[in-house]
Amino acid sequence: MIRRAHLVRAVATCCLAAAPSIIHAQDTTFRGVTINGTYDPLRDKWGVVVLPVAGPQGDSVRAIVQRDLDFSDRFSIIAVDTSDVSALHARGTAAGLNYPLFARLAAAAVVEITPVPSGLHVALYDVAAAKVINVGEFSLPPTMGRDWRMAVHRTSDEIARWVTGQRGIAATRVAYMRGSVVHIVDSDGAGDIAIPTAENAMSPAWNPVGSSLAYTTYGLDSRLFVLDLATGRSRNIVSAGRNAIVQTPTFSPDGSTIVYARASESQGDLYAVTRDGGTSRRLTVARGAYNASPAFSPDGRRIVYVSNVLGRPELYVMDADGTGADVLTNYDFSENNYRSDPDWSPDGRQVAYQERIDGRFQIRTIPITGGTPKLLTSDGENEQPSWAPDARHLVFTSTRTGVRQLWVLDSESGRLRQLTRSGGSRLAAWSPRLEGPR
């Protein structure tokens, strides 16, 4: 799909770079076409111009791409006067750009999107190098719907990769609960739909390819289901049985296993079951305490979870087979501690969770190697963090407007945006990157 036009590493752009460096040296999946620069997320963003897009869907395409790049928090969208399009091009040519103009606007990159029969043709210009550094074609469904928007999001994510070396997160969705109803919304807040489930659903969790959701039901006859998003059918994987509930399911990174908690009258333990059901394997022995809310490390070798084995809810890390448990949140020990709802970052480096501070939950992150936790929120009550695939953005529940809504936080810059507009939204789970039409 993507034709690499020029496998040349562009030189650092004047407006951003203090000293040249390779941003993502470990990224070996796509070499040679990033626009280089020393990048400080708190201060620097790539200035980018998205040229007007022709065709009946052109304005929508441009608006979505601009917003996606903006929401990635790695670009600043530069507005240009589009009343005289000819001024954007080099004098006397249709193809070449007026590079001096874009340099004056502090643009590092210019995105040119052209409708073609199969979808979109995209060209990326490096302003400092004064040339096209990448082109690609992206197919679009013929009608503008959920799939069409997702295809535009995938285009945005690829443009982000061309510039920064890292794919964007626009082509993702967030599953969450509104009351006891599962919803799914696009990462930009559009296309919100309710998903029919069994009654009393809770805690939706994505499988690693984003094709299904695991969830549990609470109350009588508590069960664990896997919902196939293509068919809408829920399949019963585990039944809690009498005097117990099952809760907080999570998929292993390879998608083969679901780990969940089963709380009985005597204790709550973590169990593993294959995604197709069958006999569950017990992972922990809580001895009168309650373990819950497991989340895998991205390599699938470890699990972070919450337990009150020492009296108060704290976070623990164990090997995926249930051995070697050790407390992660071992700072500021107090009998009033309440730390819960952990989610392991997709880069493996840290765990986001909620901690009760002065009677209200706030979002924190702690390095997996231990050390000083960071406090990310303070306004209202903030809970239930879930990482985006870029290991940088988090979706969480906040009461800052007076009712529970989902918000997206850029953990690097602190920038916030509101994702949902309907009260009672909670328990968000950010999807993986969605590769194909869903």
Binding site: M202, G219, Q247, A263, S264, E265, S293, D341, E383
Partner: protein, 206 residues
């Protein structure tokens, strides 16, 4: 209640008098030949008296039947009221302190009141629903609700109620009885609810 009983007592006395009066008169009337035509002035008067006496007897019988039915209904009402009271005792919730699943003295007293009723009605099965207030993690509260239901069940089992008669379930913070985000609402929501799942139709007194 007392007044009703007294009325019932008076009515039964009247019935007894009427019955005795009937028995006393009958031997006097019996020797008279039934087919004999009336040949003295008294015969018409006697017939009238006989008719009046029978009407009075019928009325008394009806009154007796009515009052017996009333007494029966009253007894049924009293039994129903007692059953309702027992049902209320059995299903009254117990409350917990913040972040706690230990039974407070008032919770123990509420459970103590349930024990004799459960003992007298061994066919009764109950379910305990554990609930939390809205503070705490939505998900972890589901686990803690289970712990609260278990605390009440354990107490009842320790006092001789069979384990298999008590089911437990947790609703976490998903089913608040009081809305609002203050201690008044929270303290009402931190509770175990009790439901009779079978055998509660004819509760017997302990």
């Amino acid at each position: 209640m007392k007044r009703l009983q007294r009325v019932a007592g008076l009515t039964s006395t009247a019935v007894a008098v009427a019955v005795l009066a009937g028995c006393h008169k009958k031997p006097e009337a019996a020797p008279e030949p039934v087919a004999t035509p009336a040949f003295n002035a008294d015969s018409a008067r006697l017939a009238q008296e006989e008719a009046a006496r029978r009407a009075a007897e019928d009325a008394a019988r009806r009154r007796a039947a009515d009052s017996a039915a009333a007494a029966q209904a009253e007894a049924a009402r009293a039994a129903t009221a007692a059953a309702a009271e027992m049902r209320t005792t059995l299903t009254s919730p117990v409350h917990f302190d913040y972040d706690q699943s230990t039974l407070r003295p008032d919770a123990q007293a509420a459970l103590d009141a349930k024990i004799p009723i459960l003992q007298a009605n061994s066919d009764v099965m109950i379910r305990i629903d554990g609930n939390t207030d809205e503070r705490g993690s939505d998900e972890y509260n589901l686990a803690l609700g289970e712990r609260r239901a278990a605390a009440a069940k354990q107490y009842l089992v320790q006092h001789g109620i069979a384990d298999n008669r008590i089911e437990t379930v947790s609703y976490g913070e998903e089913r608040p009885v009081a809305q609002g985000s203050d201690e008044s609402a929270w303290s009402q929501n931190r509770r175990d609810e009790f439901e009779i799942t079978s055998g509660g139709q004819m509760l017997r007194r302990p």
